[in-house]
C-alpha cells in the first residue's frame, strides 16, 4: 500500500500528490525544456541559413546543425515532456503512487545519456546524416547508440506508466473508468511501445552495420521500418497534445467532453490505424505498389484522420458547452470572446488547436494522398507541414500546460505575467509563419534540407521563381519571431522555477488556477435539454470548407504537371 508520508495534498486541486512522482515529473520536464532551448536555437540558425539573403552558416555546419535540430526538438524535447505527462496523467490524476520510481530514474538516466551521446556524435562532425539517417549514408556508431539508449529509457518510462495504472486499479485509488486525459495518455503510451519497437528493429541492425558487423541494409526496407518509428512517434505527439487540450480545457474552464464514448473512440482509432503511417513517406519510392500505398497512406480509409476531426469538434465543443453553462450565451461566439485569452495556458491551448487543425492537419492529409505527394515529396512543403503539427501544435500545447505545471507542481507563481500573456501568441505566430511560408515555397518546388537554392557552386544553373525567395525570407523572419517567443518561454519558465514567488496554501483562493466546473451533462436522453453549440458548428464548418477547397486545388496543380505513368 501507499506510504502516506510520501504524499502531499495539492491546495489547488485537493489531489494527493505522490512526491517521488512529482520529482520525476520535474526532472523530465526540465530535461525537455533544456533540449528545447538547444534545439530551438539550432532551429533559428537553420532558418537564418535558409534565408537566402542572410545565409548564415557554411554548408558543413548547416547540415550538422540541421541534424542536431531534428534530434533535439523532434525527439528529445517532445519525448522528455511526454514522459512527464505520462507520470502526471497516471500518478497524479489517478491519486495513486507511482509504480517503481527507481525504475523511472533508470529510464530517465538512459534518456539523458542517450541524448548527450547523440548530440556528441553530431557535434563531432561525422554524423551529419539528418534526423532520418537514411542508409547507405553512414553516421558514427554513437549516433545510433545514443538514439537506441534514449528509446530504451523512454520505453522504461512507458512501463512505469503502465505499472502505475495497474497499481491505481489494484489499490482502488479511483472509481469507475480512468479519466479521459489519462485515456489519451494511455493511447500515447501504447503507440510509443509500437514506435520504439520499430525503432529498435531497424536501428540495432544499423548500429551493427555502422560498426562493420553487417554487410549492408536495404535502403527501402530501412525506410519502411524507420518510418514506422518516425511517423508513429508523431502520433504519440498527437495523442499526447490532444490529451493536453482536454486537460487544460478541464482545468481552466471545467470543460467536460461532449461524449466520453466519442472522444475515447477517437483515441482508439489512433491506436488501430497509425501503424500504417509509415506509408506517408514512401509514396514516391520505387518497388512499392500503388495498392499498398493507397490503403496504408489513408490509414485504412482515413479512419485515424476521422479520429482527429472528431477531437477537432469535441475540444472546442466541450469549451463552448462549459462556457454556455457559465452564462456566456449571447450570439454564436460570446463564449469564445469571453474565454480567458489573457491566460497563457488557455491562449496556447486554443491557438495550438487552431494551427494544428487548419495548417497541420489539412496539409498532412493533402500531402499524404498518393499522387499529390508527387508534387510535394521532399520539397520544403514537408517541413512546412510538420512544423504546423509539431511546433504550432504539440510544442505550443506543451508550453501552454507548463503554465499550469509550474504553479501546481513546483508551487511557484509564474514570473513576468505580462510577458507570459504574450508568449503563446508570439511563438504561435512565428511557428504558423514558418509553416505557411515553407509550404508556400514547397509548392514552388524549393527543396528541403538544402544549403543553397541559388546553386552557386553547381556546374549547371537553375533559378527558382522570385516568389520562392520571398517565401524563404519570410520563413526566416518567422523563425526569428518563433525564436523570440521560445526565448520568452525559457526565460519565464526557468526564472519562475528558480526565483518565482512560492505559492502559499491560500493561493488557491487569492489567485486560483483551477477554474470552476461547468460539468453537467451536455446531452440527455430524448434530446431535451441538450445544449446547442452554434459557435462550434460554425468553426468546424469553416474548417471543413477550407479542407475541401485546399484538397481539390492541389489536384488541380497536379493535373498541370507532365503526364507520367
Amino acid at each position: 500500500m501507499a506510504d502516506a508520508t510520501l504524499f502531499r495534498t495539492c491546495p489547488d486541486t485537493g489531489l494527493p500528490v505522490h512526491l517521488p512522482a512529482e520529482r520525476l515529473i520535474k526532472a523530465n520536464a526540465v530535461a525537455g525544456v533544456l533540449a528545447l532551448a538547444l534545439g530551438g536555437f539550432q532551429g533559428l540558425l537553420v532558418a537564418l541559413t535558409r534565408w537566402p539573403d542572410v545565409s548564415l552558416l557554411p554548408a558543413d555546419w548547416f547540415y550538422l546543425i540541421l541534424t542536431g535540430h531534428g534530434l533535439n526538438v523532434l525527439l528529445f524535447w517532445i519525448i522528455f515532456f511526454e514522459i512527464a505527462i505520462l507520470y502526471f496523467a497516471s500518478a497524479i490524476l489517478l491519486r495513486s503512487r507511482l509504480w517503481a520510481p527507481k525504475l523511472g530514474w533508470v529510464g530517465f538516466g538512459l534518456m539523458v545519456v542517450g541524448a548527450l551521446m547523440a548530440n556528441y556524435a553530431v557535434f563531432q562532425g561525422d554524423s551529419s546524416v539528418m534526423f532520418t539517417s537514411y542508409v547507405p549514408m553512414r553516421a558514427h556508431p554513437l549516433f545510433y547508440l545514443g538514439i537506441i539508449l534514449f528509446a530504451v529509457g523512454a520505453l522504461i518510462g512507458c512501463a512505469v506508466f503502465f505499472g502505475t495504472l495497474v497499481v491505481a486499479k489494484d489499490e482502488k485509488t479511483y472509481e469507475g473508468s480512468i479519466p479521459l486525459v489519462t485515456f489519451g495518455a494511455l493511447t500515447a503510451a501504447i503507440i510509443a511501445v509500437f514506435t520504439i519497437a520499430s525503432g529498435a528493429i531497424i536501428l540495432i541492425p544499423t548500429l551493427m552495420w555502422s560498426l562493420g558487423l553487417i554487410g549492408d541494409i536495404d535502403p527501402i526496407l530501412y525506410k519502411v521500418i524507420w518510418w514506422a518509428m518516425g511517423h508513429s512517434s508523431q502520433q504519440i505527439n498527437v495523442a499526447a497534445h490532444v490529451a493536453v487540450w482536454y486537460c487544460i480545457a478541464a482545468m481552466l474552464l471545467g470543460a467536460k467532453p461532449l461524449s466520453e464514448k466519442v472522444s475515447r473512440m477517437a483515441f482508439l482509432l489512433y491506436i488501430l490505424f497509425l501503424q500504417l503511417a509509415s506509408a506517408h513517406h514512401l509514396l514516391v519510392e520505387p518497388g512499392i505498389s500503388s495498392n499498398w500505398k493507397i490503403f496504408n497512406t489513408s490509414y485504412a480509409l482515413y479512419l485515424a484522420v476521422v479520429g482527429s476531426m472528431i477531437h477537432g469538434l469535441s475540444v472546442p465543443g466541450a469549451i463552448e458547452a462549459a462556457q454556455r453553462r457559465r452564462g456566456f450565451t449571447r450570439g454564436a461566439f460570446e463564449w469564445l470572446r469571453k474565454a480567458p485569452w489573457g491566460n497563457p495556458a488557455f491562449a496556447g491551448m486554443f491557438t495550438s488547436l487552431v494551427y494544428f487543425g487548419f495548417l497541420g492537419g489539412i496539409s498532412g492529409v493533402v500531402m499524404g494522398a498518393e499522387q499529390l505527394n508527387l508534387i510535394m515529396h521532399n520539397t520544403i512543403y514537408v517541413p512546412g507541414h510538420f512544423h504546423a503539427t509539431v511546433v504550432a501544435g504539440t510544442t505550443l500545447a506543451f508550453m501552454a500546460i507548463t503554465y499550469l505545471v509550474v504553479p501546481l507542481i513546483w508551487r511557484r507563481e509564474i514570473m513576468f505575467p505580462g510577458l507570459a500573456r504574450w508568449q503563446p501568441y508570439i511563438f504561435g505566430l512565428g511557428a504558423a509563419g514558418i509553416s505557411v511560408f515553407m509550404m508556400g515555397a514547397g509548392t514552388l518546388g524549393v527543396s528541403r534540407r538544402h544549403w543553397d537554392i541559388n546553386f552557386t557552386d553547381a556546374a549547371l544553373s537553375f533559378s527558382y521563381p522570385d516568389t520562392a525567395f520571398l517565401m524563404m525570407a519570410l520563413n526566416g523572419l518567422s523563425g526569428v519571431l518563433a525564436a523570440v517567443g521560445g526565448l520568452m518561454f525559457i526565460v519565464i519558465v526557468v526564472s519562475s522555477i528558480l526565483f518565482g514567488k512560492k505559492r502559499g496554501a491560500d493561493a488557491a483562493q487569492t489567485n486560483p488556477i483551477i477554474g470552476v466546473g461547468g460539468g453537467e451533462a451536455v446531452a440527455s436522453y430524448g434530446g431535451e435539454g441538450t445544449l446547442k453549440l452554434p459557435g462550434t458548428m460554425i468553426l468546424v464548418g469553416i474548417f471543413f470548407i477550407a479542407f475541401f477547397l485546399y484538397y481539390w486545388v492541389n489536384w488541380k496543380y497536379l493535373s498541370e504537371v507532365w503526364p507520367l505513368s
Binding site: A59, Y63, L93, Y134, P136, M137, E175, G176, S177, L180, D218, P219, Y246, C247, M251, K256, P257, S259, E260, K261, S263, P286, S289, S290, S298, L301, Y302, V306, L313, G317, A318, A369, Q371, N373, L374, I375, H377, N378, T379, T443, G445, S447, H450, W451, A459, L460, Y464, A523, G527, L533, F548, W555, Y557, L558, S559, V561, W562, P563, L564, S565
Partner: protein
C-alpha cells in the same frame, strides 16, 4: 471533467450530442471520398507514379546509361563536358544519380513519350524536376521505370532533394524539352 473519471460509470451508454453524430457522418463520407479519389485518379488521371521497378546492380545501370550516351550524344553542355543526349521519341532513356551529379543531360521532344529509367549508383537521391514540380525518390540498387510526356518546351532543372552529403546542394541536372 476530463481530468476526473467519467461521472456516469456506464459512460458508453450516454446519449450522443446530435451535432457530434452529424459531424462523424460528414467525416466518414469525406474519408471515403478522399480514399476513392486516389483510386479514380489511377483511372482518369494523367499523373500516376509507375509501379514498374526492378532490382539492379549499380554497375549494370551505369553501363546502360553509358551505352545510351555513346549512341545519342548530340553535343556537350558549354564547357562543363557533360554530354547532352537526344534519344529518339518513345525510347528507353536513363538518368543516373551519383554523388553529386545527374548524368547525362537529356534532350526530349515536347508531347512525345519516353520511358525514363531512374537509379542511383551510390546513395539515395531525390529527383526533383523543376519548375514543373515532379518529385521522385531514387534508390541505389532499384531501378524505377516511368513513362513521361513533357507537356511544355523549355529548360528544366533536376534538383536533388534527398540530402546526400556535403555536396548535396551542388547536385543539379538539366532536361531540355524542344518542340
Amino acid at each position: 471533467m476530463a481530468i476526473f473519471p467519467p461521472e456516469q460509470r456506464i459512460w458508453w451508454k450516454e446519449p450522443l450530442h446530435g451535432f457530434e453524430l452529424v459531424w462523424i457522418g460528414v467525416c466518414l463520407v469525406w474519408a471515403i471520398v478522399m480514399f476513392g479519389t486516389m483510386i479514380v485518379w489511377h483511372i482518369i488521371g494523367e499523373q500516376n507514379l509507375s509501379n514498374r521497378a526492378y532490382r539492379i546492380d549499380p554497375d549494370v545501370f551505369a553501363a546502360r546509361t553509358e551505352a545510351m550516351v555513346t549512341e545519342y550524344t548530340v553535343r556537350e553542355e558549354g564547357d562543363t563536358g557533360i554530354p547532352v543526349v537526344h534519344p529518339p521519341a518513345g525510347s528507353d532513356i536513363y538518368l543516373q544519380a551519383s554523388l553529386w551529379q545527374w548524368y547525362p543531360i537529356l534532350e526530349l521532344e515536347k508531347d512525345k513519350e519516353y520511358h525514363l529509367h531512374l537509379s542511383s549508383i551510390d546513395w539515395q537521391h531525390g529527383f526533383s524536376l523543376q519548375p514543373t514540380n515532379i518529385n521522385v525518390q531514387v534508390h541505389p540498387g532499384y531501378e524505377l521505370v516511368m513513362t513521361l510526356k513533357p507537356n511544355r518546351a523549355g529548360e528544366f532543372g533536376v534538383v536533388c532533394n534527398e540530402f546526400c552529403g556535403i555536396g548535396h546542394h551542388q547536385m543539379l541536372g538539366r532536361i531540355y524539352v524542344v518542340e
